[in-house]
Symmetry: C5
Subunit: 354 residues, 5 copies
């Protein structure tokens, strides 16, 4: 989360709506691509300029313009001009530390949320901001980098699978949100696997830095929860019918996504409980182990201390110590000591001390 | 809960409303059965095809069609066509990781919730998703497997017990929900017995892995709570009269079920408190025991250490040690040591150290 | 709370509204008594049959019919017929595991709540379900057993004290609720006394099973809270004027009872805080005591171990050990040892180790 | 808080509105005094009877009648008759365990809240119930004892400072509430001083019963919070304009008091956090100290135990022990022991054990 | 927070609206400066008197009057007269312990909030109260001291950057709030750096008073949260459109600030979680370290105690001890001791004791 801070503090003092990219600087060039489709036809255009885009958008067809890379100020500004976007909206697109939200700017609906992916290399969850702008006939989507989870949507459009080609831009918006939320499940599954591994490790042979691993996983869950929680509220607004841009027919689908979001958050909570239990069991087994060691060692010490005292007695050099000259004195001492040790062991056992 | 994740991630990328069964794959064939009844007559039909079902449903009579097994895509799709069900509704029926909810799809009311059973073999609670669809004259019920808790309802219908034969499809819906909620009590009773056994074990002779047993019970309670909690909200919506499909006359009965749901949740909370207390008492008794052991052992050690020092003194080989040649030196040392030991024991007792 | 479960699971599968008594089976016969009064007259009738009751109720007078013992199915059914009560209402009366609630059944208002009494013999709080049904001219009250807290109300009616004889059936309802809530204060006072005794014990000489006593008190408070908390919500509904059966004039009195309920709940919270503090102080004093013991014992051991080493040196049997033959060798060793012991004690004191 | 219980349980069974004083019995006689003022004139009357008061109240002037001592049933009843007060209102005045609240009784507005004072003698916060009744032209104030925080208000009235003489009875009500709330700041300041002393003590030389002092302070804060929290809600009702007795012009002033109440509650929360931190630091420093002691002592013991073993070896009396007869055997043993001790100290240091 | 108390208690008893400065007494003279601008022109005036200010304010232009230093009662009173401000508003300006809030006083809107700055010298966050009064054509800003975060706004006005010169006084208000909120990010970044340093220190070589440093940071976060949290609610009121002084066009900008406030609070929560984890890891590593030390030391002691016992045996002076005269007795004892030590070490290793 300190990310947000780094990002934001660079910008303090600029007038609002200043188009400055705030986020990791992607080396790649921003790329613009477009799907233009209706029930009968569908065309796909890659590596377009904004001018070309503007000429493609046709009333009566749905246009999905996707921008990968939001660091190109000029491009964003042009998009804003062509589609008549509010400058605060443009600022939010370029400033990649937004909380998920749905906002209305006059005619258009603006949805910001987080695409989560699991990076196996770093063994951690990566976050990427996705902004959707829903107009009458078009949907704009902005991503931080190339690579996304929208391929199934692209395929459904180009192959006319499902009902996407028969529906309007609001359904497309739904399909994009749905694709991202569906991907949350896969990410959580990965986190779940890690937590189950942790649980096994705790019960068998915990490594030295397991505490830190547990805390890291906890931080990760908090991070995921922070990324998703506000989306639930935002989708709730959509489902309650607060925005006219979403028709009632599509609202049912958003209710479905909202449901999935709730399931994801339930799973996050469950994982948090599991982590908590893992930590408790770890600490408890640690303290149990420690107690066992100390107890056994202390019992050994306690057994020998009185015996050592006894042998000390007959090591004294007094001139007059009758026992020393007894014929079976030495044997008698051994007898006394064995009886004492046996008695103590018996007493300890009776008290269930080991 | 990771179940949900396994289930959902398999489906990511499919268009919404894709009828793919998500859940444990039941080996059994899906079976369809139907009750058709009014106040005077009642007929029961087993092992029907969807076509036969369609011909049976008669206006003026109540039809209850029960489907056991939701993995047969074709069957579900046909049911959807015959009864005019929304494809998202069908998807929810087949996707068995739903949170309990009540949703309206145009004319029909869709209720999803969990049937809980206690499996004595596995010594754990099993969950099965039940979906009800309430239309004007009919109720559809979908279960994951053969075997349910609806037999009392079947008996009341066939024997015309109570008022079920005189009432409409909304009352039948109530009766089915009520049967499931009533069964929750039995499941909780089983869990309660286990917790009471745990409490007894803690106070007597706790086994080594009692911590894990306690945590397992806690997880189980959380699981049960997760299954029931959203049902309370859903029933609340029904009782507030948000849905026209439930007449006011039957709404009173739903208020009764809602009440039972609250009682179940109260019991879950009580059990959680009891488990918490059990854990605390266990940890406290553990630490008390440990403390006792350490204290007694340490006292023994402490008693003998000064004595050992004394006998060490007279084991020294100095040429000039006057005490050694005294007539009663040895006895005197014994006297000093006994006095010292007695004094220490007296002091420890006074300080209430044991 | 497992009570609820025992009770409810016996009933699973019966049609709703089945009149089966669920609760402890009282040996006593159910008894019915009635007060019939208006401003001028008042008559009291004991050991009535339901038929006699029916003939007594007169328009223009207030009738209070009290039933002690709810296990007599036939009696409850007859009452239901005479007063036209909904069968779910009758079921709730007989099923004694209800949560406190206020419900409207057409004309009548149904109030269920808990009468708490402190049983000095068992040293614990006893709960008894009280159900009130408020009709136009009559109030029915149902209790589980003979013996209640309504005597002051009876006296006020028969001696025409206060304004009860001048008011309607809603005021009588208030008076009965008020009598029960007033009694809560006495019960809490008893619990408070026990907690204060616990606090004293903790500070002085805690017995071995004080942990369990504390937990038992905590459970008791949770139990009391569970019994009263829903009543607050129910009374709130009454005060907000949701029910027409309560006139505005009497609503003011219910506001007063609601206030008392809040005070009781405040007291419960305060007691819980006190118990929590008691537990913390106990644990802290326990650990402090333990630490003290271990510290002193360890210091004693630490003092003597170097001394024992020294005397060990001069117990060695080397042929050439010059110190052994010194004239004042023995004295010198004593001197060294005393100096060492003194130095260590001084150092420990400086470090504030005891 | 058990106060409430003592108070309330004495009253169980009496008809509602019974005027029985419940609270500490003040020895003093109840005293009644009155201010009658308008913009031009102001008269002050002390030690009045209720009859005299009745004759003084004049339409067009504001009358403030203050009653110190609420144990005189007769007096309260007379006041009730003269000013037409509801008997439940009178009961609340005499029953001094009320939660702060604002209630409307027909024309009049009834405000109950707590006056807090810090008693330096007992080193604790004292609570006194203040009841205000606001009528059209008059304000009645009831206190438990002589002595209050209203002197500044009296002075402003008599010297015509500020705008109090130009405003109506609702402004006077505000002024009285404000005086009490302003005094909360002073009380909290005293508590704050105590907490800061505690913090210093913890960091320097904590006394033995500091745990109990911390818990006592925590109880005190909970007590203060309980006294003030409901007042916030009550004032909120006033500010939202729920009561017609408060004109919109004066409502702005109540918003100001509400603000102060929030500040007080913020301060209480801050103090609670501080106390919590103090406790944590204390416990942590305690355990740190203990650990240090045990570690050093154990290291000393561990150093000497092997050495004692070595000298034990050469104290054995075997006939054939070659080392004993070596010329420099004794020196060699010393050398070995010094080397061993040095090595152990070095190893411990390397492991950062001290 | 005790600040508030010091401040407030000095004022108890004064009539409301008394203009008494409460806060740190700034030595500086209060300074008044003014910007008067419209789209075409802009003039800046420093070190003005209130009279001069009054003559400058022109309808149709936006006037921003900034007052640095709120301790000059006379100045504040004059400002109040010139701009027609309510005396409670003036009181709040001078009393610098306000909670952030937005209040409406007839035509004007009053916004109070906190300017946070990080003082590197004291290594802590400093708070300064800023009050804004928004009238039709003017904005008044009051600060406690010279020096603020408004320079970027001043520059945008004088250089006509952005849209500030084209907009009204409500936009200026937004710009000032935005400048302060933007600065929060920088402050939090500093706190974040400190927390990250703490985390590193904990994992490497924690200093002795790290506990206190952690608690200090926690207090600081609570302080920051207290300063910002109420602002969120206040801005929420603005965004919901409760105040007519903010036009709908500017409301969109306030929504943006509200969003930033939420991000700041999210960051505060994240930092608190991080601090909590840091503390937990510290305590756990501390206890781990301690356990390790104790375990190793105890093992050493336990190893040597039986050996010391054995050498004690042969230090006894019995006349008849056959072993003593054996030829290889001494060697045999060494053998036994080595075997015993080896066996114990082996057993300890097998039990994973070290």
């Amino acid at each position: 989360m300190p990310d947000i801070l780094d990002k934001a503090s660079n910008k303090a003092g600029l007038p609002p709506g200043s188009l400055v990219h705030i986020g990791e600087h992607a080396a790649d060039k921003s790329r613009v691509s477009a799907f233009i489709y209706d029930q009968d036809q569908c065309s796909y255009h890659r590596e377009m300029t904004v001018g070309e885009i503007a000429s493609l958008v046709t009333a009566g067809k749905v246009s999905w313009i996707n921008v990968s890379g939001v660091h190109d100020t000029e491009l964003i500004r042009e998009m804003g001009n062509v589609f008549g976007l509010h400058h605060l909206l443009l600022e939010d697109i370029m400033h990649t530390g937004q909380r998920p939200k749905v906002e209305e700017y006059e005619e258009t609906l603006f949805i910001v949320f987080k695409m989560l992916t699991f990076d196996p290399g770093q063994d951690s969850v990566q976050e990427e901001q996705v902004s959707l702008v829903l107009g009458k006939d078009w949907v704009l989507s902005f991503q931080e980098k190339e690579g996304d989870v929208f391929d199934p949507v692209r395929e459904r459009i180009s192959r006319a699978k499902g009902r996407i080609r028969r529906m309007g831009s609001d359904y497309l918006t739904y399909a994009l949100v749905d694709a991202v939320v569906d991907h949350y499940f896969g990410v959580l599954e990965k986190i779940g696997d890690k937590i189950e591994d942790l649980q096994d490790e705790v019960l068998e042979r915990p490594s030295k830095n397991i505490m830190q691993t547990i805390h890291k996983s906890k931080q990760e869950l908090i991070f995921v929860r922070h990324s998703i929680w506000p989306l639930r509220d935002a989708l709730n607004q959509v489902v309650r019918g607060e925005f006219e841009q979403i028709t009632e027919q599509v609202s049912v689908y958003f209710r479905d996504v909202l449901d999935h979001t709730r399931q994801v958050l339930d799973a996050v909570d469950t994982f948090r409980d599991m982590l908590g239990a893992t930590l408790e069991i770890y600490l408890s087994s640690l303290s149990h182990h420690m107690n066992q060691v100390m107890k056994v060692l202390t019992i050994i010490a306690t057994l020998f201390i009185p015996l050592t005292f006894i042998v000390g007695i007959y090591g004294m050099n007094f001139a007059y110590m009758p026992e020393l000259s007894w014929r079976y004195g030495y044997l008698a001492v051994w007898g006394v000591m064995l009886a004492l040790a046996g008695g103590m062991i018996y007493a300890f056992k009776r008290q269930r001390w080991f």
